[in-house]
Symmetry: C2
Amino acid sequence: MGSNERREREKQQVRQRILEAARELFVKQGYEAVTMRQIAQKIEYTPTAIYFHFKDKEELLKELCGQDYRKLAGVFQDLGSVRDPLQRLYQLGLAYMDFGLQFPNHYRLMFMTPRPHPLHDEELVQKGNPVEDAYEFLRTTVSECLIWGYMRPEYKDPELISQMLWAAIHGLTSLHIVLSGDKWIQWRPVRKIAEAMLDTQIRGLTTRDAGAKIDKSGVLEVVAKSPLMMKAATTKKRSGTAAKSTGKKRK
Amino acid sequence: MGSNERREREKQQVRQRILEAARELFVKQGYEAVTMRQIAQKIEYTPTAIYFHFKDKEELLKELCGQDYRKLAGVFQDLGSVRDPLQRLYQLGLAYMDFGLQFPNHYRLMFMTPRPHPLHDEELVQKGNPVEDAYEFLRTTVSECLIWGYMRPEYKDPELISQMLWAAIHGLTSLHIVLSGDKWIQWRPVRKIAEAMLDTQIRGLTTRDAGAKIDKSGVLEVVAKSPLMMKAATTKKRSGTAAKSTGKKRK
DNA sequence: GTGTTAACTTAACGCTGTTAAGTATTTGTT
DNA sequence: AACAAATACTTAACAGCGTTAAGTTAACAC
């Protein structure tokens, strides 16, 4: 009776080996190109053995996606420690793109595949959907930027700003997943494009007093000049010049 | 001997019927889900008959994409009449998105379907590729913006700027094609997001002297303040102040 | 009329995801 | 210890896929 545990343990071990093999192959060749027989061969089992652990090929991908969803949520969670919302916004964009390029197949399934069956079936709906969580994290950050007074007065709707920023970085990510091999376009380093994009968007969004610039180490340095910005600027570099502000107000 | 023409004509007719059937099915079910046997059945031929007209399944997709690329290039061509490059850039973005949202399935085939093998092999290389054409139109416009002195000095690479702008508007377009029905996100009107995005990007890209703003009628109004901007501002509104330009040169 | 070519069809190959049925091995019950 | 049941697989096979080799039929050239 007692060795049920060992049986279960061994089963989970095989299950894990299947997932690892599948992940490695999916990442290398893409979901469609990978065959069940390939996966089976890699773990030295028969193809049918996989079906004892997973319903079908798609469930393999779903399980792996679930892992990555949680991973993305984790990455976002870590960015919670970045105090300054504008800096956080920037890091958020880079982290999102990194995630997409690291797991292009999972990213494809998440955001590039028109779903016949809506994005969330039933189970995932209830217990805090990760996609929604990630979006909410973005929206919260944008809202904070508004509260901190970073944004130009014509930008008021955090939802619209969030969607705009998400769309932009998603575009770069997805375009590179699909067309990065296209030799007709002399692609610039995707990281450079992302940095330019975030830089441009943030400059376009923020007031002139709160210009944002990236220094060489890749850290966003928020240059705050208006009185409202004072506490904002003192997150990382506690600069002595902060108190010197003239307190000028626009309009 | 004379009826060779008719033979050729009939062949092209069948070829066209294959393409139409393939397009309809690709659009409805997506490239991977469509089988050669389905296409054949639709035109009441044997699956093998298709292979007399096309090398393989992928060539079907390539041909259809080519058609759409040319269509997009046509839309872009019409924008050649807009003199001011900054204004043209803005209109370009909106036209691109409109095209994508009007023909979402075509757009999917063009920019959202991961290609098994790189986009263009050899034949399409020679006769001015349409994707390249559309992209080149964008790049040319960006280059003109640089020449006209619109851009901030830190932006110098038209390739990078073009890729950034393309990615951003593509992201909005593709995200809406895939997720506009998602109830988890309270989508703002996509046109509003596009306008905000272009507005933001252009403001972030340009010098303070050449701020760009959109008036209520949706027409981009270039606000030129620096001497260099004088002629730029006179595209639609022929203002009498144009001749006053001092003709100062930058750098 | 004969031979050639064009435009197909029939049949088949090797591959795919998946399943039904069989086989040991381990487990729980008597 | 004996026996049934469940577990964790394997073997064999199915239907369907993209694609090809070989055969067929009709239209053409001479």
